[in-house]
Symmetry: C2
Subunit: 413 residues, 2 copies
């Protein structure tokens, strides 16, 4: 299927990306604004998240209620969320409603009311979101792992801190919005049954006269501890691990992805087979790849009974170490089949395509065609993945556990 | 977009359903076997779930490892799970791999090894799955709500009980499989880039000579308590509620769906607006509709701080009661926009379509066209939804809470 992909960067720095998919009736949109929680002032951690809630409570000519009604009237399935780097506005609906949706998003991004009277309930919700982590050990161990592994502010969690959320004022939200909501570096991507030129004209009308530039991304600080145990009287022990990998722009990127898939790319992959199936050690175990522009990690998780936790950790680490000892041809055939199947699913989903357009542009400054990705997957081989694993062997682990007792971990390398 | 939908029931009782979607490259399949956990023997609760794991550990000419490899080689994204009524086998991949996938599923469904040596690790995993509920209060309160609300065995959770899982033997799994894995009442649905006649011929070859009939569905027993508090020293209080609604085959079905969407169909819906947005009372709140063939419920959930829990419950109940007092025209316009937008998303997803084909057939004995559903949504009005709400007013609540302290609830009606 030939892709129809378009891009344009306005003089003000806003980039518009689109993929025309004529076989669907829906359209999805995705705004990335470089105002994620990495930009939160250190004494107001949680500010990006609070802003992502407050920003839809009235904008342009509509008050909070009218704005929500207008979005629901368009049948929008939508979400606003604070990531580390970006605030993300996602929505999907019938393609014919896209122009009207964009008009409302122009109000939200450019003319939000940020009503002082609604800050208190938004703060109350943010505090609850934060507190609920205490009752969700699976989430919490992964949040803590990222905090330890990545240098601040890249390891931050959107939920912030209690003190940070409580320190937020109507003025500080407004100031944060004005500093960070700027067209330069912002990305709008659209995928679905759209036509490019009318879309571009519409976006030009709504965003062409937007002006401004956000501050530079914050400097990186120190990373956290390589070992951390969170003592909690739970029935299960949660285990989270990370080790360094290469970022998405790196020449080894697909090989790194291949290596993670040898570990965790399907039900026959090594972690699932060796730790879960053969020994019944843990119900849930997986490894995944997470990237920023200049650094990346393989992140793994296992949740198991307290009694089985040590053996689960030991076997998981043994599987990491075994990667460099050899990779079978049939393992690579299988992971290629899985990756290609996922790619085909993605090409059929407007939301997935809109997300990929935006993330490609942010990370790579260009959009990878599905053919390019397919070719890179086709070229993976045991030798190419081994080459990567031997150049970047798993090691220097960060290990966070949560449960009644700490586990024995290998010494820091 | 004209739909191409097909169905055929073989003399042995197996029904095959298909939707041809020529604009995609993928295909999804869905087997429903009436062997869900409602059929678990009372002293072996958890058996269906154990069977759904063990059944892929070797089948036909392949041992456990070979079977997993064969499925992964086809790039299958897949899942086997035990619901209340059905064991469900779901898979999606590139359409050209569908025939090979069906051959493997024929082995799994008809010629599983159910190896005695793998039962112990499968039981260990099932026990862990069960125990992890203790650390997941959100899941747990909803599991307990269903147990209390629906008459046994419809209220069962797949996870079973510790004693039940431990009582399972290789012989009991084999016996359970032989009783319940029968073609009569089984449904296979496929959606994607397929051709009907070759598909039907292939299925006939693989399943045409399958013979047998499962036992009748188990008789219904008593329901549980209308009020239950699970004492636990958590930071948040979890609230789950249910009240009766009409099942999917009922003439009021779409009106009932409309009523739930007035409560919880978008960000402007009543529960989100009144309980979350205006008062910041709880981070998560929603209501949904769950149906069996002959009965259904509206199920609602809220999670909040212990201090705000009572007010959250009171306001939620007040919103239920307010339904019968009136519904605005613009509320109905919005929920119709949302339902139609969801319908369009669904028509673009092979997995969603395969799932809908099978559930329509099971519940209704026929497949609703997207046009039929769209027409029913179009016909919703404030008057029609009110008519339903007044005929079936919310009441006779089942309320389960989890947290440090019980809440005050209205008296049983």
């Amino acid at each position: 299927m030939a892709q129809e992909v378009y891009h344009h960067t306005f003089p003000n720095g806003l980039t518009v990306l689109a993929e025309r998919m004529t076989h669907v009736r829906s359209a999805a949109l995705n705004f990335l604004i470089p105002a994620g929680c990495a930009n939160d002032p250190p004494d107001q951690l949680g500010l990006a998240s609070v802003l992502s809630d407050l920003i839809t409570r009235g904008a342009g000519s509509r008050d909070s209620r009218e704005l929500t009604l207008a979005l629901d009237n368009l049948g929008l399935d939508r979400d606003e969320s604070a990531g580390v780097v970006h605030l993300r506005f996602w929505a999907a609906t019938v393609a014919r409603n896209l122009p009207a949706a964009l008009e409302i998003y122009a109000d939200i991004l450019r003319r939000p009311h940020l009503p002082p009277g609604e800050l208190a309930p938004v703060q109350a919700l943010a505090l609850q979101d934060l507190q609920s982590l205490d009752d969700e050990p699976r989430q919490r161990v992964l949040v803590e792992l990222r905090k330890q592994y990545f240098p601040d502010p890249l390891g931050r969690d959107r939920r912030g801190t209690e003190a940070g959320i409580e320190a937020i004022t109507p003025e500080s939200v407004r100031r944060h919005y004005e500093r960070h909501f700027q067209p330069r570096g912002a990305i709008l991507s659209v995928a679905g049954n759209i036509e490019w030129q009318p879309l571009l004209d519409h976006v030009a009308k709504l965003f062409g006269d937007w002006q401004g530039q956000p501050p530079a991304a914050p400097a990186l600080g120190a990373r956290g501890a390589r070992r951390l145990h969170l003592k909690k009287d739970t029935h299960q022990t949660q285990i989270a691990l990370a080790y360094p990998s290469v970022p998405i722009g790196h020449p080894h990127y697909y090989q790194a992805l291949g290596a993670v898939n040898v570990l965790s790319g399907g039900m026959s992959a090594r972690l699932f087979t060796e730790v879960r199936e053969k020994h019944g050690l843990c119900y849930a175990i997986w490894a995944t790849y997470q990237t920023f522009k200049d650094r990346a990690a393989v992140i793994a998780y296992a949740g198991t009974t307290n009694e089985r936790a040590q053996k689960t950790l030991d076997l998981t680490l043994a599987e990491f170490e075994r990667l460099a000892k050899g990779i079978e041809a049939d393992e690579v055939l299988r992971l290629k089949a899985g990756l290609k199947s996922s790619l085909i699913m993605q090409e059929e989903s407007t939301s997935a395509r809109a997300g990929s357009l935006a993330s490609d542009w942010y990370y790579l400054g260009r959009i990878r065609s599905l053919d390019e990705i397919q070719k890179a997957i086709d070229e993976l081989s045991p030798a190419s993945i081994l080459e990567h694993v031997r150049a970047y062997p798993p090691g220097d682990y960060t290990i966070v556990t949560l449960g009644p007792e700490p586990l024995q971990t290998p010494r820091d390398s």
